[in-house]
């Protein structure tokens, strides 16, 4: 993605270039403004928002909305702030990401280097499971979680995200390992390495980038999920997205827009941070999910 392939090939006039730059800058503004406005307004006292419009800079800078959103805002019925829910999301996302990545890596390894009759069909079925509308599994999932006694809990959500993450992680590792030279596996077999030794000693050491892609994609997806969180983890076990929605839509009292914005940024912060730190892998994950290589 780094090198401009059309270099020297497509030339354009100066007027056209000015237009191109204007267009791009306009859209940069379109994408940036909503976030900047949220940020600005999360640092204003409420009266400034209701009275003074959204675009203006704060006359009086305050971090009060942030403190309130974090630890005292009313979420549902409890004035706990978003902190416990933020923790819920962490407790949910980390194990689910790790588990689905480990399983996806092994699946990808098997599906590319130990192929057998019918493996493409199995992969096809796994792949399709990435794209089902999750509404189709909500009802039976609720039953199963109930039977397993983990309905409405973080372990329940971990299970759900793990189960429905396997398809994507398998896709990533399969496509990555498909390009990994099979001769290396053969050489290792002749050298006497077994199934797991080959995976551990030969495949994994070369899997850094795809592990990053899988971690980031899974983390973003799981952190940002709302449907499963809202369906299976109400109340104390709710993840950040559900808590944010509750905060914003709580009907009691005055609407504290500045607190809502602070909360929204908090909910966005972890995935944004991942995006800023490792955007390259994020983009690769998006592409791998769209153009099946």
């Amino acid at each position: 993605m780094a090198a401009a392939s059309t270099e020297n090939a497509v030339r354009s006039s100066n007027a056209a270039r000015v237009f191109v730059y204007l267009f791009l800058l306009l859209f940069a503004l379109f994408y940036l403004l909503p976030f900047l406005i949220m940020l600005l307004n999360s640092l204003k006292p409420l009266e400034e928002i209701t009275g003074g419009g959204m675009i203006a800079l704060p006359r009086q800078w305050t971090i009060e909305p942030w403190l309130s959103a974090w630890s005292t805002a009313q979420i549902g019925v409890q004035p706990t702030g978003l902190r416990p829910y933020f923790m819920n999301s962490i407790m949910m996302a980390v194990p689910a990401v790790v588990m689905s990545t480990v399983v996806g890596a092994l699946n990808g390894y098997v599906l590319t280097k130990w192929r057998f009759r019918g493996d493409t069909l199995i992969f096809g079925l796994l792949l399709f499971s990435c794209f089902i509308p999750f509404q189709i599994v909500l009802i039976p999932m609720a039953r199963i979680l109930g039977i397993l006694q983990i309905a409405g809990t973080t372990p329940g959500l971990i299970l759900v995200h793990f189960v429905y993450g396997i398809g994507f992680t398998t896709l990533y590792f399969r496509n990555y390992y498909a390009a990994f030279p099979t001769e290396l596996v053969r050489a290792a077999q002749i050298d006497g390495a077994g199934f797991f030794q080959i995976f551990w000693r030969i495949m994994l050491p070369s899997s850094g980038p795809i592990i990053a892609v899988s971690f980031i994609w899974q983390f973003t997806n799981i952190w940002n999920d709302f449907l499963f969180g809202a369906s299976f983890a109400s109340g104390d076990a709710a993840p950040m997205t559900v808590a944010l929605n509750n905060l914003v839509n709580s009907s009691t009292g005055v609407r504290e827009y500045n607190v809502h914005f602070a909360g929204a940024i908090m909910a966005a912060a972890p995935t944004l941070l991942v995006y800023i730190v490792a955007g390259r892998y994020f983009v690769r994950g998006l592409m791998a999910g769209s153009v099946k290589g």
């Binding site: 030279p181 001769e183 290396l184 053969r186 050489a187 290792a188 077999q189 002749i190 050298d191 006497g192 390495a193 030794q197 000693r201 030969i202 050491p205 070369s206």
Partner: protein, 371 residues
Amino acid sequence: MGFLDIDNVTKSYGAVEVLHRVDISVEEGEFLVLVGPSGCGKSTLLNMIAGLEGITSGEIKIRDRVVNGVHPSKRNIAMVFQSYALYPNMTVGQNITFGLEMHGTPKPERERKMKEVAELLQIENLLARKPGQLSGGQRQRVAMGRALVRNPDVFLFDEPLSNLDAKLRVDMRTEIKKLHQKLGTTIVYVTHDQIEAMTLSTRIAVMYDGYVQQLGTPKEIYDSPANLFVATFMGSPAMNVLPARLVEQNGALHAVITDHAGHDLALRIENAPAAYASYKDMPVHLGIRPEAITDPEGADRNARNVQALPNMVTVTEPAGSDTFVTMTVSGKDCIARMRADADVHPGHVFDFAVNMDKAVLFDPKTEDRIA
């Protein structure tokens, strides 16, 4: 009983048989080359010897032990791959000793063997590097080192030189031959390059379409090809195959061809095998290698039956050491290999000398050599 026996081996994928009844017996210390165009089954056969692919029927024996179903690591073989297959995350030293480690060899012994092999291949200074930092030739050496350190019964080479540039390929070829002479190991070597096959092997199996077309020493393969495929595949430029008719004149058999102008020209055959008689007055394919058609001064002095072939030169291709000349014989392009300073010019008629000792005849229908 050989050292490595391939006994009636076939390979099928589903209903499709891709390798038909292969029978090869390799003696200890032999250098067997499997050569053929891509898709001929040579790599499949090698992988079956290695244990990387299953055997559909038949048996493969190494040192009289049937190895069907035996894990690759327990056949006491080593393999050098086309891509070298060096583990990218390990150093050269670790690459070489990985197999020993997997087989539970104690560390001091691993170190000792690694040193020996590194010395033999002159890669001592590379041991701490990663494969990514090596040149193609260096990788090739490391791959051989990894195979050597195991001290296997049989070495398998899968097109090991095809990723190298032309000059390095020739150097490494010599290197492999030297190594074979020095160590006397048994080698099975797959290539599509007939020059590699000729230069390296003690015996060659020419494969095509899942069949072993001919198994023999390089000289047998080159001088007495079993059929048209072997004749044209081995040798560069390829053997000229010219439509001809076999007739008897003055008590001797002659192969009748036509020159550039379409006139008949009879080339006398001496010491004709008995089988030729039954092809009298029938069409045959006359096979003559380019070096058997030359200028009279450059003709082989030991040849007993050199015949004149006056014909028009179409193209000359000076190649430094030789000059290749193309002409039309029996309506086909025919290549002659001349001395570099032979005085030939396109459009001129030249008296070529044909060494009929080296000529072979093929049945046009079965394409087998008539003998």
